[in-house]
């Protein structure tokens, strides 16, 4: 196991990260999903000791990450959204400063990523678009042969072609079975294409952490006529009423036994949307 997170806790006046636990295996991409404000970035920052957890344990490659912070971080590539630091500095200056922190820095790889992402090292950070800043952050994080890449919203701001290229790159990175990626996003379609495992966080708590197929297999999309709604309302995780009836999400075991409903496989995006409606589906239906 490359990363083990156990009972991670962080208390804020208005938010509680509550006993977050999950594992990331070698050679896998773990999708870390949840709404804005669900606790994804807080979890990532607590894992890396950028913010102090109130409890829990994090192990990286078998070692206590917090006790061996410097050594572990040398083997971790981190992207927290777009590169928004030192905006008036040239890319080449930033790279030249950054590479000195990593004994395993691969200049050839970095240059190839600059070419691949069409980044001009003579440009300043503030001359880059949002998408190009994300690419810069990725190029820096990918160039020291990190065993684990922790990417917080790495595809936000990228155009569809760039996102697709990036997802291909992620798959290529983990191919050797020694590298892993923890990939936080709310763009679920990206994870459909590349994630092996999913950890779903809601209001600071992990709802589930499992492989992507089991995650999808656990749910079904159901639809039916309006008169069926009352009968199945209690078994629906979330639903949306419309002129012809309703569409909603059910646990697979409930959906398979539901007579008179159309049942279809659930995609990740639908699972997330209807799960987030769980607490308020009455209102959503009105």
């Amino acid at each position: 196991m490359i990363l083990e997170v156990r009972n991670l806790k962080k208390r804020y006046p208005t938010f509680l990260l509550d006993d977050v636990s999950f594992d990331v295996e070698e050679g896998c991409i773990m999708g870390f999903i949840g709404r804005n404000g669900a606790g994804k970035t807080t979890t990532i920052k607590a894992i890396l000791n950028l913010i102090h957890a109130d409890g829990g344990q994090v192990r990286f490659d078998g070692r206590d990450l917090w006790a061996n912070e410097t050594a572990c971080k040398k083997k971790i590539g981190l992207v927290l959204g777009e590169f928004s630091y030192y905006r008036r500095k040239k890319l080449k200056t930033i790279a030249d400063v950054t590479k000195r922190f990593y004994a395993d820095w691969d200049e050839e790889l970095y240059q190839s990523l600059l070419t691949r992402f069409a980044l001009d090292p003579e440009k300043k950070v503030n001359e880059l678009s949002q998408g190009m800043r994300v690419k810069l952050a990725l190029a820096l994080a990918l160039s020291h042969h990190a065993k684990l890449l922790i990417l917080d919203e790495p595809t936000s701001g990228l155009d569809p072609v760039s996102r697709d290229e990036l997802l291909e790159l992620f798959r290529a990175i983990i191919e050797d079975g020694e590298h892993s990626i923890l990939f936080s996003t709310h763009i679920i379609s990206d994870l459909e294409k590349c994630a092996d495992y999913i950890t779903y966080i809601k209001n600071g708590s992990v709802l589930c952490s499992t492989d992507a197929d089991s995650f999808k297999d656990a749910y079904r999309l159901v639809s039916g006529e309006a008169d069926r709604l009352d009968r199945f309302r209690d078994r629906l995780i979330g639903y949306r009423a419309h002129a012809f009836g309703f569409t909603g999400l059910m646990r697979a075991e409930n959906a398979d036994a539901a007579e008179g409903l159309k049942v279809a496989p659930a995609d990740m995006e639908s699972i997330m949307i209807y799960t987030e409606k769980e607490d308020g589906h009455e209102r959503a239906a009105e």
Binding site: L50, I51, K73, L80, I94
Partner: protein
């Protein structure tokens, strides 16, 4: 630490630092409280902290494979380097003044070892107040600088005021105040006599010790405080 210092110099050093360092030329102004030049360097140090905050330096550094303690120590090392450069430039100005002019200064401390000693104490005061105050939050540079500036100006008024008062009192035959006479004859003067040299050398040595101890304490406090900060 080399990589961190390299980052400080290439990504964090504010360009106005060089302008403020050039203000050491103020030591050639006749009759002026020369310690004011040191305050301008404190101002430049504040700009480094402020612009680094605006550039997200704390978060970027925290993402690198370094500890928070190392990050604080690297920034403090940059501060010490700038203060030593300022001191060396001041020493050069003092030497030039003593050769080309007569080193005397009716507006405050004369050019000499005493001036350098007072500058060291000024930097020690600034470091002790500003650095731990900033690292309590990691972002409130303005409030920390305000506190540091108050300490620095109190010291400027006290030290320069004492030098001016010493000469005024020493010239008044009716007042018999040995401390002020000693200061006028041995501290705030060109060290022409062995006694003056000794007095100023002791003062400089003591100031060096105060600077070293004060800065070390300020670094330790800063590290301790920044360890508790959540980098956002």
């Amino acid at each position: 630490m080399n990589a961190l210092l390299n980052k400080e110099l290439r990504l964090c050093l504010h360009p106005t630092v060089f302008i403020y360092l050039a203000l050491v030329l103020m030591l050639l102004i006749p009759s002026y409280p020369y310690l004011v030049a040191c305050f301008f360097l404190c101002n430049a140090i504040f700009f480094i902290f402020q612009s680094s905050r605006e550039n997200g330096d704390s978060l970027y550094t925290a993402m690198l494979p370094v500890s928070k303690a190392q990050a604080v120590k690297a920034r403090c090392l940059l501060v010490v380097i700038l203060q030593i450069i300022e001191l060396l430039l001041m020493a050069g100005m003092c030497a030039f003044s003593l050769v080309a002019m007569d080193g005397a200064n009716a507006g405050g401390t004369d050019h000499g070892l005493s001036l350098l000693a007072f500058a060291l104490i000024l930097f020690a005061i600034f470091n002790l107040i500003f650095l731990p105050s900033f690292y309590r939050t990691g972002y409130k540079a303005g409030a920390a600088f305000l506190k540091g500036a108050i300490g620095v100006w109190l010291w400027i008024v006290l030290s320069e005021g004492t030098m001016i008062a010493s000469h005024a009192i020493a010239q008044n035959q009716s007042l018999d105040l040995p401390f002020f006479r000693f200061v006028a004859d041995n501290i705030d003067c060109f060290p022409a006599t062995g006694e003056a040299w000794t007095a100023q050398a002791i003062l400089f040595g003591a100031a060096l010790l105060i600077y070293a101890v004060g800065t070390l304490v300020s670094v330790r406090l800063s590290v301790k405080r920044f360890e508790r900060v959540d980098v956002q």
